[in-house]
Every structure is written in structure tokens, then in C-alpha cells.
């Protein structure tokens, strides 16, 4: 692994919740854990206080640090090298062009997913597109077909919005059987960013919609020429054409230099490397909206154009693969989101769903955006089953897999898993996937 000696020593000293498979923990959790144990009257906290004289002046106080480079793109600390976006390793594809990678949610420190950790889903790999040669065209049922260079688009007044994005296939490996270990594997087809661009409605208005325009095709400039049909009502409401992501240009794997962003809807409709917009009167019914991204339903049927990512939540700490060091205060943390609005409440359970308590939501609570929740749990050291359940601004309550099973057919490559996701906690503090 090439991990440095001081790194290993540091992790040995830790007392907080640890991702067991990585042998790591966070400073913050370590200190909260100690404080909790002490406040609960335990002697463990006092016993952990360092012996006199053991806190030496660190080497970093006694030397010059690295000098500033004339020009550079800053990178995370070498001690964070274990925080990576990982290609799907539970459902393993035989080639890696039409494939996906997953966000390390257990390491995400706020509502924003760093660009280098944002999940990927491509259908023919990542193209490297020169923005000077990239052209967006708008045509079909419009009064005047138009083309736009990147410079043209970036002359408009731009706007920035915070929104989550989630793949419709998030959770597909873990409906009724335990396949995954970590929350990265169970929920990592999710990210949240500030997106910068212009409303699609401006470009459509400029071209002028013809009478009878009802659907809009978005098509990418990648090797799959990925396409989706989007209803005109959504296009004229809040769909954006974006080039910015978290304060910088999109990364190639996230659509550089231009992509669609469709707030609250499944990731694959947010077509990357966007090169063509065609207006029509009916949906195209492409392979990507019939044979893929559709939901198996009872009686052999399939549901299509199921765009919205419904209200969902998950506990990210503690989560699968971590270990709680001992009884006492445990800070429960997680994310909630809804493609239909804002998060109104999140409840947590510690007994597998028999009783629930309301968690605290952290500001900002934004429309179609990740929302952080927390709950201070005093763990008695016995076996527990923890989970979260979100409620959104429409009043919709996050269902369980059993609720979903009653109305859909959970078989095969199932999309739109927004079920309550439980983790088990063993009496030794080990946290594991408890979906089944």
C-alpha cells in the first residue's frame, strides 16, 4: 500500500469510528467519541488522556514547509490517498467504457462532492473535447435552427445552482440480498455540486418553439452519442445547460465542456458532452429509454420515463465496514435528498424500524440538494439496527424495500431504489449492511 509509518501510528492512536477496511478514522470523530464517553461518566475517557510529557513539539513546528509553486493545481494531502472514487466492484462489468464509478460518501465532509470524487457513468468512455471546436446545435421543431460555440454560450448572464445528481441504478446490487460492504458501494452513484450555466429555456426561446413542440432530444458528443427525450414542460422550467461545476469547468468525465443538468431527475438524462438539441412532438423511445433505465413492474411490464429521483436518505457514519470503538455517544450522520423538493424531516431508528426519532437537519436545506442530518445516539453496546427515513416537502415518506416490493417487481437490474437502508451494529461495534 505504501502508507507511511506515521500514518499507521496515527491510526493506531485513534479512538473514533474507523472504516475498518481502510484502517483510518477522522480526527473529529475521535475527539467527539472521547468527549461522549467522558460525559457519560465512563472512565474510558480519562484513561485515554495522554501521559505527562508525551506531547512533543511536532516536527512541522521545527522546519520550513513546502514553498509555493509558481503555478499548480492543488491536490489533497498524501494522507488522504485512500479517499478515492472507485469503479463498481460489486457488479463487475467485463469492459470499462460502458461502466460506472462511485463516490466515497463515507468520506464526504459537507453537502458538496469534490469534482475528483464525483461518481461517473459513461456509455463509451470519456472523450477529450476541445472547447474551441465544440458546437451546440438547436434544431427540429423550431422557427430558426441555431448553433452556439462555447464562447457564445458563456456570453449570456450565467447562474449557479446547488443540486444533487443520482444515477437511477444507485443501489441496484442491494435490494433483497447483501452484496455490498460500504456506503460507497451501496449509495455511491450520488453526488452534489454547484452547477453553473444558462437555462435551456433561453436557447429554446431564442430558436422559437414551433406549434406542437412537446419533447426535446438531448444528444452527447461521446462514442455512444447517448440520447434522452425530455418533456418540453421540464425543459422550459428548470433545466440548465452547464459548463461549471463547483467553481471550475466541468471535468472531462463529467461532460467537459458542456452538459445538460436536469434538477431532481436521474443522472443519465443530464446528457454529457452535449452537442445537439432537437425539438419534436413525440418522445424518440431510444434504447436508453426502453431497454435501459426502465423499471420492472408486475405482470411482465416495464415502466419508462420514470425520471424523478424520489426522496431518499442514508446514514453515512457509522456505515458499513466501520467499527464503533465502544459503548457511549455516537454521532449519527447522513444525507437526505429529494428530486421533488426540499427535505422536510429525517427520522432515525436504532431498533430496526420499531421506533423512530427525529434527527436534526443542518442548514442549508435546499431544493433538490443533499441535506445533512445528525442525531446524537447513546449506544448501550448491544446489537442494534440503525437506519434513516426522509420526508420531503410534498409529504412523501421514504418507503422501505418491502413497501416498494408491493407495487413493483424487484427482479434483475432494478432501477430507482430509494428504500430505507439499515446497517447492523454488532455488540463488538462492527457496522454492516443489513438490507437482508
Amino acid at each position: 500500500m505504501g502508507r507511511r509509518k506515521e500514518d499507521l501510528d496515527e491510526s493506531k492512536r485513534s479512538s473514533g469510528i474507523q472504516p475498518v477496511e481502510e484502517g483510518r478514522r477522522s480526527f473529529l470523530k475521535g475527539s467527539l467519541m472521547l468527549a461522549g464517553a467522558a460525559a457519560a461518566g465512563g472512565s474510558a475517557g480519562l484513561a485515554s488522556v495522554a501521559q505527562a510529557g508525551s506531547l512533543a513539539i511536532p516536527e512541522s513546528n521545527k522546519s520550513m514547509g513546502r514553498e509555493i509553486e509558481p503555478k499548480a493545481y492543488g491536490m489533497p494531502s498524501k494522507y488522504e490517498a485512500h479517499v478515492t472514487r472507485n469503479r463498481t466492484d460489486v457488479f463487475v462489468n467485463k469492459q470499462h467504457w460502458s461502466d460506472w464509478s462511485m463516490t466515497p460518501l463515507q468520506h464526504q465532509k459537507g453537502i458538496i462532492t469534490p469534482n475528483g470524487l464525483f461518481y461517473e457513468r459513461h456509455h463509451a468512455g470519456t472523450p477529450d473535447i476541445n472547447p474551441e471546436q465544440h458546437t451546440l446545435v438547436v434544431h427540429g421543431m423550431v422557427k430558426q435552427p441555431l448553433k452556439f460555440s462555447m464562447d457564445d454560450l458563456m456570453r449570456y448572464p450565467s447562474m449557479s445552482k446547488f443540486y444533487f445528481m443520482e444515477c437511477s441504478g444507485n443501489g441496484l446490487t442491494d435490494w433483497k440480498t447483501v452484496k455490498s460492504t460500504t456506503v460507497q458501494q451501496t449509495h455511491g452513484l450520488l453526488g452534489c455540486a454547484q452547477w453553473t450555466g444558462v437555462p435551456l429555456s433561453w436557447l429554446l426561446d431564442e430558436a422559437g418553439l414551433a406549434d406542437g413542440a412537446k419533447w426535446v432530444l438531448l444528444e452527447g458528443a461521446d462514442g455512444s452519442a447517448h440520447l434522452r427525450s425530455i418533456p418540453i414542460e421540464k425543459c422550459m422550467d428548470d433545466v440548465m445547460i452547464v459548463w461549471g461545476m463547483n467553481g471550475e469547468m466541468l471535468r472531462p468525465e463529467n461532460g467537459y465542456p458542456l452538459r445538460a443538468f436536469i434538477p431532481g431527475w436521474e443522472g443519465n438524462v443530464c446528457v454529457k458532452w452535449l452537442r445537439r438539441i432537437k425539438v419534436g412532438d413525440k418522445p424518440w423511445n431510444a434504447r436508453s429509454e426502453t431497454a435501459r433505465y426502465t423499471d420492472p413492474m408486475p405482470e411482465g411490464k416495464w415502466r419508462q420515463f420514470s425520471f424523478v429521483m424520489e426522496c431518499k436518505s442514508v446514514i453515512t457514519s457509522p456505515s458499513g465496514g466501520m467499527k464503533i470503538p465502544g459503548p457511549g455517544r455516537v454521532e449519527i450522520e447522513g444525507f437526505a435528498w429529494s428530486g421533488n423538493g426540499t427535505i422536510k424531516a429525517v427520522d432515525v431508528t436504532f431498533d430496526g424500524g420499531k421506533t423512530w426519532r427525529e434527527a436534526k437537519l443542518e442548514d442549508p436545506v435546499l431544493d433538490k440538494c443533499l441535506t445533512r442530518f445528525r442525531y446524537s445516539w447513546d449506544w448501550d453496546g448491544g446489537p442494534a439496527k440503525i437506519a434513516s427515513r426522509a420526508v420531503d416537502s410534498t409529504g412523501y415518506v421514504q418507503p422501505t424495500v418491502a413497501d416498494i416490493d408491493k407495487v413493483r417487481a424487484i427482479t434483475g437490474f432494478v432501477q430507482h431504489h430509494n428504500g430505507v437502508f439499515p446497517w447492523s451494529v454488532s455488540s463488538s461495534g462492527e457496522v454492516a449492511n443489513a438490507i437482508a
Partner: protein, 195 residues
Amino acid sequence: MLSRKLTAALVALTSAGLVAGAAWAGPGVKYGSPISEADVAALDIDIRTTDGAGLPPGKGSVAEGAKIFAEQCLDCHGEKAAGGSVFGPMVGGVGSFLTDKRKLTPGSMYPYAPILFDYMKRAMPMTAPQSLSDNEVYALSAYILNLNGLVKDDAVMDAKSLAAVEMPNKNGFLVDSRPDTKADRCMSDCKPIKE
């Protein structure tokens, strides 16, 4: 204070999702350059698969398709599209949707035959997408449909005949009507998660 009428109108606007649109009132500038549909012709590859609108001139037979498949597709998709080194079978599966092991193939899954043309034209072969001629794509469509027992051995596919092929899953799709679950926000004495 807002009048009751105005408040009601605002609430209606908000629930219709129109407030965001209103906040995004036009930029007051236009930066697009006019083009004609002829300028877009090379890019305009989409097929409306329900009726085949957009299918180009050209044609191809099952026999021609078999030859092209052997050269361009077999390595990944296997002999007779039964599944190969990279991708699973593209034949069979009709009737499997009524079991708990749904087998997804063009024959079992595609509701409209022109999906084959649209997808192969834009995305196949994976190593050289958009390299097949329209005649080659028609021929491959004929071959895959034939392997699935949906057209005869001597079939020739063109814009008209491809759109006319009846697919077994034609009526297999429902439009989204979620929310389809009605979970309660139970706080105590609740049914455990897995029941």
C-alpha cells in the same frame, strides 16, 4: 400584505413550477448563429423508433448481416449473438418477463424494431462507433431480428420493412405514475423495516 387572491395565484404558480421560469425571464440578448437543417444533416442521426421517422434510404439482408456480424460484432457478442467475451446474449428471453428471471434481449425487450438501427448506427461497434454504413446497419438489424425469430431468413430490411416488424414487447411499457408507495411516518410501535 398580499391579498388573498394574489397569494392564491402565487401558490398556484409555485406548485406549477413556474416561479423558477419567471425568475429566469429572458436574458435580453441573443448569441446563437442561424443555421439551416441542411447544416445539421450529418449529425441528425436520431430515429423516432415508434414509427421509424428518420430512417434513411438503403437496405440490407439477413445473409449480408450475418457476414458483417462475423467481422464486426462476433468478438464481443459471440456466435449467433448468443453471448460472448464482453456482452451477454442478444437472442431469446421472450416470455421470461413473467418469471422472476427476466432475460433482456432486443427480441424480448425492444418494443420497436427501429431501436436496433438507431442504437447500432450511433454506438456500434464500440471501438469505432458511427463507422457502419446505413446498408450495413439495415443488414445487421435484419440478422439480429432473424436470430430472434422475428423475420424470415430471406428478409430484407429498409425504412419501411424495419418499422413494420412487430416486436413481442410492443405493449410492455407503462408510463411513470409515481409516487406508487404510500409509506406512513410511523414513530412508535411500527412495523420493522423488513416486513
